[in-house]
Subunit: 374 residues, 2 copies
Amino acid sequence: MEAKNIKNSLGIVEAKYYTFAQPPDELVLESGQKLGPITLAYEAYGKLNEGKSNAILLLHALSGDAHAAGLHQGEEKAGWWDSMVGPDKAFDTNKYFLICSNVIGGCKGSTGPSSKNAKTGKPFALDFPIITIADMVNAQKYLIDYLGIGKLVTVAGGSMGGMEALQWAASYPERLRSCIPISTALKHSPQQIAFHEVGRQAVMADLDWREGNYYSFNQPERGLAVARMIGHITYMSDQSMEEKFSRRLKDKDHSFKFTTDFEVEGYLRYRGDSFVKRFDANSYLYITKAMDYFDLSGDKLIRPGTNPDIRFLVIAFKSDWLYPAYQSQEIVRLLKTRGVDGTYCEIKSTYGHDAFLVEVKEQTRLIRHFLNNV
Amino acid sequence: MEAKNIKNSLGIVEAKYYTFAQPPDELVLESGQKLGPITLAYEAYGKLNEGKSNAILLLHALSGDAHAAGLHQGEEKAGWWDSMVGPDKAFDTNKYFLICSNVIGGCKGSTGPSSKNAKTGKPFALDFPIITIADMVNAQKYLIDYLGIGKLVTVAGGSMGGMEALQWAASYPERLRSCIPISTALKHSPQQIAFHEVGRQAVMADLDWREGNYYSFNQPERGLAVARMIGHITYMSDQSMEEKFSRRLKDKDHSFKFTTDFEVEGYLRYRGDSFVKRFDANSYLYITKAMDYFDLSGDKLIRPGTNPDIRFLVIAFKSDWLYPAYQSQEIVRLLKTRGVDGTYCEIKSTYGHDAFLVEVKEQTRLIRHFLNNV
């Protein structure tokens, strides 16, 4: 597929890299450890206006990256939110300057456990410090500083991206005019932690993991594939699986073997196998841990005595059982009790947690209307 | 804990073993393969009356066994349904003769993949044929024949046990007066298949699995533990995890390591580790496959033109998201369209799928009343 065939596409885009100048050449992390030098991979679409007042920061989820929209040269697959970002789309590149950066801890160009540790000349592996969502956001803030942007029109993302959006409001309320957390939560529930922990256990159970020092060898592919398969079950709904696969068999009859019988099994295996080709297992450990540590409940999102001038648009999807709507309602309830302007929208969808990536029409309507009023 | 300390306990019980006499020394399986000789481990409680008309067959779930109630000599943990089986309990041993047998494919005394293959003198491993729920029930039927019981008062079980109960009604309607399927389904949904498939993938990804030939070595403990951890998440509800663990930490603060931070993580690791000490990994593969193949939808539960004289009590629990109540409602709807007597009860509970093991009071009331009218 050529870029020109994608409706309202941004066409060919490419990643940029920003390595923190001195100061700060290091980031002091929430754990107290220091990390540096730090490079962030990012992409930007649209045009920053003269007043630098039309910038929006997009925030990716667990397995996402800086490539939010458009096509990379020679590739066929558009960015992860291409349906939402482009000319006349929800995030309209005719009006806004869109930025998306790969999180620290990631493996798509930003400094993470697979990056070279300047002190040893070898990949960090588990010498990479544990990072948090607040650390990711601190790194993003330096990128926004570097781009000379004082105040962002909004920060928006789904799932972990929604956590980052909330963290921006908590850490840098003066740098935002609005905030769009989607399919997310104020804190991970024990069930959400549990799903992540099982994924980490699957990775670490793989002998190829080698306590994280696998970079001269193979990835722990089998363990990481299992982790991803668990993830995919939680991203879909019971109903969307029924609609997509039902009990259809791959072949005419049961195999009476432990090979792939049902289409849903083939789908999971395919998803697991393709993930290990594009994602670093240690990044999986670090990023899931960051999400599990995330907790902006109580006084942490809106600090007492502050009255941040931020408008929130909180979006949830009915069939999302991984980040159930009640968690989005908790965000809105907290905003209301602190006198902060928050709009809650629960969108009908059968797509489960994946809905934030695929339910384009309703999200576009909501977000365009919201941004027009910011 | 001594037996006498357990209220209404059966006290010390012990397993019995029945090896099929000739004929049938072999079972022709649904796959067309033959399996034999077959041994079933079983337990029996209460007294079979002279007319042999007071027998009830209890049916265990995936990781269960023949030890439904009472205590084994020297052990502290009572059988899996001890709260429901005993004097004056839901299944009252003062009135009924209770039987429970380990399924074929299992690893608790019945013939399964860890049993010795008479033809080779070595454990079957993956030479064990794929079995189905119907095969399990066929084997149970020979045990009931052997015990001289013509007609069972009821067959009852939760989860896979509920599938077996339904299969009894489909395969041997003339041998039942009633049927109590609990927390179960007419067929596995793609989501249910998916959770099992990921568990199997976790086992088979473990190098210690050795294509099933691990009996001279270690079990694939890491893979089987991951599979069990996935299972445990699905057996609990979001709410019961919140009540039991919330976000409580094991230590005072975050570890900032990949060790156990949250209590829920410790719980899952403990559950995974203890499971591998008591359960055979290949049995896990075979039994989950049998559940995935299970499908009594359409005309398969009640064959057209038949009018089986069986009363059904179908029980579901509100917070069970692994076997959601709508699947039990589908059973009842099917019964109604075929003119078969079916009562549906949906019990309020926060325990999720585990509820059938722990919600004793309401189940006892329902089942005692139901059995009094059979």
